[in-house]
Amino acid sequence: MATLSNTTALLSKEVRTELRSRELLITTVVFILMVVVLFSFTFDPSSSESRRFGPGLLWLAFLFAASLMLQPCFLREQTNDTLSALRLSVSDPFAIFLAKLIANTLFLFLTELLILPVFAIFYNVHILPVSPQLALVLLLGSLGVAIPGTAFSAISAQARMRELMLPLLLLPLLTPVLIASTEATAALLDPQPALRKDWLEFLAAFDIVFLTALWLFGEYLLEE
């Protein structure tokens, strides 16, 4: 119960500070928008090509944008040593991770929802009929990025080459998420759209395994 109330208080802090600064949302939206628009001019994609390349391109853009978004997640807590204050105040350190990963998932998911219409226009794909299924894939994929991303953000924030450390640790680990999310998205953009349950189950399993690991070992990642 205390974990839940701590998570709620911390999540509201994360959302409030982001709404005030808009740092993360603006950075990621601009980055993904640039990638999506630039590649559409490079490929000049027809609809069939879009269905082939589009999902991979989209998820690659999401992944790199997420690594930009995740970088300051724990780094910001070091400016005034607020992480120490949080560690002294919460009864369960997992609440710190839970709030941050929910906030990261939320921001990433929001960014993806903003970008999807632009992607649909530039790549000539119909997303409206499959939008609920697509939202599910995006949500599970975003969680898959945010859970290990939040954990590695905590590790890299204390490292010397922190800017380099996060993508180095994170990107290889997220390859399975990238493949599963891309395949599930591609199946939905097919002329005969299908919700690939095998990939969704894979994403859900990935999320559960890493969330459990974070719950078990997260406390050690916060130690100085």
């Binding site: 109330s5 802090k13 005034n80 040593d81 607020t82 120490s84 204050a85 105040s89 100085e224």
Partner: protein, 234 residues
């Protein structure tokens, strides 16, 4: 206002060592701090004061040795009671207002009826008029006042202060000294790192001088206490 029940708590440092790579920050430090004591930690820069305080706050794990919290109602790791900590950094969010910062930490600490507690603290630290201003717009002294208010939120049994007067004006120092005096009289344990004599050092009941990570002097008597606080030979 409902605050956690306060029960007197002492601290025992048993042969504490802290190494950062090959560098020793603390070397086999053994200290017994009784509940209700007010300890002034002194020593030159890099003597290990901050590390000892962070170990006491359970923010840093010692490389060797143990910290025990002597409280009948608490677990040995000290989790059953609260610790107030004022560090070098302010430990508050620049992007939140003074009131939002205190509300956040009060919620995390499970303080019930937090509005009246926060009002009282903001009044005490002289920031009631600026409660809705973002901390990033505050001066260093005002930020320190918010930091102190955060540490005092749940009237902790143990108060750890790392150079708490940093940035405070003379009125702020007097207020802090009076507050610490009251807390000491209530039986709360206070450990603070200080440089030189001040209103705050005057309330210390014991002074411990660290040198290169070891306890060099430890006294409770008047003249020696004064000499330790001013870093002179006793």
């Amino acid at each position: 206002m409902t605050l956690p029940a306060f029960s007197p708590t002492g601290i025992r440092f048993e042969r504490i060592e802290k190494r950062y790579g090959g560098l020793y920050a603390l070397r086999r430090v053994t200290l017994d701090i009784a509940s209700g004591e007010c300890i002034a930690l002194t020593g030159r820069n890099g003597s290990g004061k901050t590390t000892l305080l962070r170990i006491a706050a359970r923010l840093v794990r010692p490389s060797a040795g143990n910290v025990r919290f002597l409280n009948e109602g608490a677990a040995a790791d000290g989790r059953a009671f609260s610790t107030g900590f004022v560090a070098h950094a302010t430990m508050v969010y620049d992007e939140l207002t003074a009131e939002e910062n205190l509300l956040l930490f009060a919620r995390l600490q499970g303080i019930v009826d937090l509005a009246s507690r926060i009002d009282m603290l903001l009044l005490e630290v002289g920031l009631i008029e600026r409660r809705n201003s973002l901390v990033r717009n505050f001066s260093r002294g005002m930020r320190q006042r918010v930091a102190i208010a955060r540490a005092l939120l749940d009237e902790p049994a143990v108060l750890l202060l790392d150079e708490p007067a940093t940035g405070l004006d003379p009125q702020g120092v007097s207020w802090l000294a009076a507050t610490l005096q009251r807390m000491r009289e209530e039986g709360r344990t206070i450990v603070m790192s200080l440089h030189g004599e001040s209103d705050i050092s005057a309330i210390a009941t014991r002074a411990v001088r660290l040198e290169a990570g070891s306890v060099e002097a430890d006294t409770r008597t008047g003249a020696n206490l004064k000499s330790i606080l001013t870093l002179r030979e006793a």
